[in-house]
Symmetry: C2
Subunit: 198 residues, 2 copies
DNA sequence: TTAGCTACCGAACGATCGTATGCTTTTAGC
DNA sequence: GCTAAAAGCATACGATCGTTCGGTAGCTAA
């Protein structure tokens, strides 16, 4: 007779499942997260796992949502204290890079899922696109603030700058995750400082 | 009685399989290429498909090899005619971007496989790393030539520049493949021109 | 002519996939 | 104390996974 959980712990179980899915997806990709594997890893039955979500796609979306929320809690939230404009954006990118370099989650979850689903239309792709757009919009808004404040030249091409800053992030992710290059964070910071005219 | 193929056509069949695998992998990732699916797509049996390679991993490696060769034939080869240094490198990046923007193959095969396998040690990861390193080495060599020729400042940090150029390529790939942004190639070219001091 | 080699097929293997159904157990509200 | 909801388990389903095996058609060399 195993000890049973109270219904109030349902949300906790759901969180536990998603947490485990995040770990697995970091290594194997979102499509590599299998219900059977989750069940084994968590010591529960497949039905118990999927019962919380209904379908695998719903589980993928929930996992993605959790990753996005985690990112938002960590990166923009920690930069919120800095001065709007260049300061805040620099801080945000620093946090992003530190987040990618952290042990545990393999690089940037959003980036890898974006690559995994960029050729597969569907709700997952849509969700990834929406999340990345939010990040781009955030960066663009801070850049416009910086232009208005005179910290960046008035003729700054904001969209171009967002594009290039994103590229630095992607390069950092690859250097960290694939090449295991310890110099990557420093390189990324230097690139960003140059882009933001520091 | 079906018409039988001569033994001399074996290599052609192998090529056909790999070509099909490249197409499938562009949309679904290398792990998404299934022997059964290849067999269906090619109108042959699973045994006939896998017989040419022995193992799925061998098939993956062969597919990756083919993609690398295709890339080498297209990008550095077309830039070989340009003057060594900044000219040639600019040309190579232009070719890379045009290659990614081409319809048919979904973005940069190497980049997506790199993301797919960056957390999975093994021969595939090793092969991806080797291929990407060759590309980095190529870029670094051209940059050093440019420095020696005086087209770039003597204090140029070549590795940093390779890092940032790679980032522009990754950003272009994401913008093309995920965001379907038609302005991406132009943005990338502008970023590269600025990095190479044009 | 014949023996051997190669390419490929048809069939099957155990494993695992996602999903559905029907229990048992526990808890919450009355 | 009783009941309805639910969380989770056990089991099963059809499909597909990668791989193996034996057989056969067509070619080549002896």
């Amino acid at each position: 007779m195993s000890p049973r959980k109270s219904a109030v712990e349902t949300a906790a179980t759901r969180t536990r499942i998603i947490e485990c899915a995040l770990t697995l997806a970091s290594a194997e990709g979102l499509e590599g997260v299998t219900i059977g594997r989750l069940a084994t890893e968590l010591g529960m039955s497949k039905a118990g796992v999927i019962g919380h979500f209904g379908t695998k796609e719903a589980l993928q979306l929930a996992t993605l949502d959790a990753a996005v929320e985690k990112f938002a809690d960590r990166v923009p939230a920690r930069a919120a204290g800095a001065d709007p404009g260049v300061d805040r954006l620099t801080r945000a990118f620093d946090e992003w890079i530190a987040y990618m370099a952290d042990e545990g989650h393999g690089g940037c979850f959003l980036t890898s899922v974006a690559t995994e689903f960029d050729g597969r239309p569907g709700p997952v792709r849509d969700a990834v696109l929406a999340a990345l757009s939010r990040w781009s919009d955030y960066a663009a808004a801070e850049l416009r603030t910086a232009v208005d404040a005179g910290d960046l030249p008035p003729d700054t091409d904001v969209d171009q700058l967002v594009f290039e800053l994103g590229g630095v992030g992607l390069a950092a992710g690859q250097a960290i995750q694939l090449h295991r290059d310890p110099a990557a964070p420093e390189r990324a910071r230097r690139a960003i400082d140059r882009l933001l005219g520091r």
